[in-house]
């Protein structure tokens, strides 16, 4: 019996009063990575925002381990189901402070794991002396990786990744993919990855859901993209 972490039932999203997508049903189990692809403007980012409860969905529900957000409390829900923005958002502080800041939230409250952070940084090709630099002076590719590590340090069960390697060169992309894949396979975490890159979807993910605007989209079989 699969350990279902995330259940999306009948989810519809809207933006500016326009329904972008109707009735998405999807279950994501521990150890699994699911890719969401689709044409620009079909509502992929809006969908991730609705799953992360940053916006209310137009219809449907999202559960984490069978529990609705209001049963867990929204901050607790988001602490377990973390959304990582496509365009990295850096606080006006050093890269190190950017990594530490979320760990102080009441729903997280874990001490900064300096050794683990250093390992993760090295894994994605970043030097630890970068932690002392103002985060906004880093290149966009470095910021994207810092953003990813920041989310990983919160230790979520499910990551909602919006184009996680859009600003990365081939080497960095590969190291990020390896890190994400290992985390899911070996630590029993899950990820939903929005990507426009179908090759990445096939390479990285176990399943692939092709979203079409205004159409019912359903979870497909393994690597059905």
């Amino acid at each position: 019996m699969p350990d279902v972490l995330l259940s999306i039932t009948g989810l519809a999203v809207a933006a500016g009063g326009v329904r972008l997508m109707e009735r998405l049903n999807l279950e994501v189990s521990a150890g699994e990575m699911v890719a969401l692809t689709g044409p620009s403007g079909c509502g992929k980012t809006s969908l991730l925002r609705a799953v992360a409860q940053l916006d209310d969905p137009a219809a449907g529900e999202v559960r984490f381990r069978g529990r609705l957000p209001h049963e867990l409390g929204w901050p607790q829900f988001r602490r377990h189901v973390v959304f990582v923005h496509q365009r990295p958002v850096m606080l006006d502080a050093t890269a190190g402070e950017n990594l530490r800041h979320p760990l102080r939230h009441r729903a997280v409250q874990i001490p900064f794991p300096a050794d683990h952070a250093a390992v993760l940084l090295r894994q994605v090709g970043l030097a630890t002396d970068l932690l002392g630099q103002p985060a906004r002076t880093l290149s966009i590719g470095q910021q994207q990786r810092v953003s990813l590590i920041r989310a990983l340090l919160v230790d979520p069960e499910v990551m909602l990744l919006d184009e996680p390697s859009s600003a990365l060169d081939d080497d960095s992309r590969q190291s990020v993919e390896t890190l994400l894949r290992e985390r899911c396979t070996h630590a029993g975490k899950a990820a939903v990855v929005v990507t426009h890159d179908r090759a990445q979807a096939r390479r990285l993910c176990d399943r692939h859901v092709d979203l079409k605007p205004h159409l019912t989209a359903a979870g497909g079989g393994p690597r059905d993209g």
Partner: protein
């Protein structure tokens, strides 16, 4: 020009006409420098005279009748005008901002003013209009500046730092944790003018009320004590107003699902 019983020199309309000559100097400068301010100066002069004469007659009527409902009615009008002015000064707005500004200024204005009349000056009755109305006017005048600055800053921060706020929310922050910096910035910004005034009061400027009392022939030491009380009252009123305005806006703009409803914030149409 004649001495009043209290020792102050009373001004006649002829005296005011001479004072108006000072405005003529400004108008001549405007003409010579082609500033094109003459019409506005003339209009502003007429409005000043008409508005102040009218308010003088209204106040005399209110002071003579001294009825609690009448005093509260005048206070209500003052609060409504202050709330409207506070909202007019903000660059951005959101649905419901007007009643929130009214509620904020009504609460902060009345709570501080009535505390002063009832518990410090011990006026009998507590609503004695000679005290309540001018004191409320001072609290509201400063309070509306503080409230408009605080709201303006909050709405600017929530708009321009929306990504940062949503970053915090998406990593498990409560709405309070995500909004805290913006809320603190807004309250700080609203409080700065009154704190700056307190820093230089008596050094750079003599406040109007104290000057008025001294011109009325009051003992300067008495006038100073009154002014200190007034400064404290204004500061308390402004800080309560800023905090309340920011908290009411926060409750409107962040949902109970711990989301920022940024779509509610929109730029005000230019006046």
């Amino acid at each position: 020009m004649a001495d009043t019983p209290g020792g102050a020199i009373s001004l006649s309309f002829a005296d005011l006409a001479i004072a108006a000559a000072l405005i003529v100097v400004a108008a001549v400068i405007s003409l010579l420098m082609r500033l094109r301010l003459e019409r506005q100066l003339a209009l502003a002069t007429v409005r000043t005279v008409v508005q102040l004469l009218m308010v003088g007659y209204v106040l005399k009527w209110v002071f003579d009748i001294e009825h609690v409902l009448l005093v509260l009615g005048v206070a209500g009008l003052m609060i409504a005008a202050a709330g409207h002015a506070a909202v007019q000064r903000v660059t951005r707005t959101f649905p419901g901002v007007l009643w929130r500004a009214f509620a904020t200024l009504a609460f902060s204005g009345l709570i501080t003013t009535v505390t002063v009349t009832a518990a410090i000056i011990n006026v009998e009755p507590w609503y004695k209009p000679q005290y309540l109305i001018p004191l409320l006017g001072m609290v509201l005048g400063n309070g509306l500046t503080g409230v408009s600055l605080a709201l303006d800053t909050l709405l600017e921060r929530l708009t321009e730092r929306r990504d940062e706020i949503e970053l915090h929310l998406s990593l498990g922050a409560t709405r309070w944790e995500a909004a805290r910096d913006a809320l603190a910035d807004a309250v700080r910004r609203g409080m700065i003018p009154i704190i700056n005034t307190m820093m230089v009061v008596g050094i750079v400027s003599l406040p109007g009320m104290m000057t008025g009392q001294i011109l009325e022939g009051a003992d300067p030491a008495d006038a100073v004590r009154y002014q200190i009380m007034v400064m404290f009252m204004i500061t308390a009123g402004t800080s309560v107003g800023c905090i309340l305005a920011v908290l009411l806006a926060y409750r409107r703009l962040f949902t109970k699902h711990h989301q920022l409803n940024a779509a509610l914030i929109r730029r005000r149409a230019p006046q």
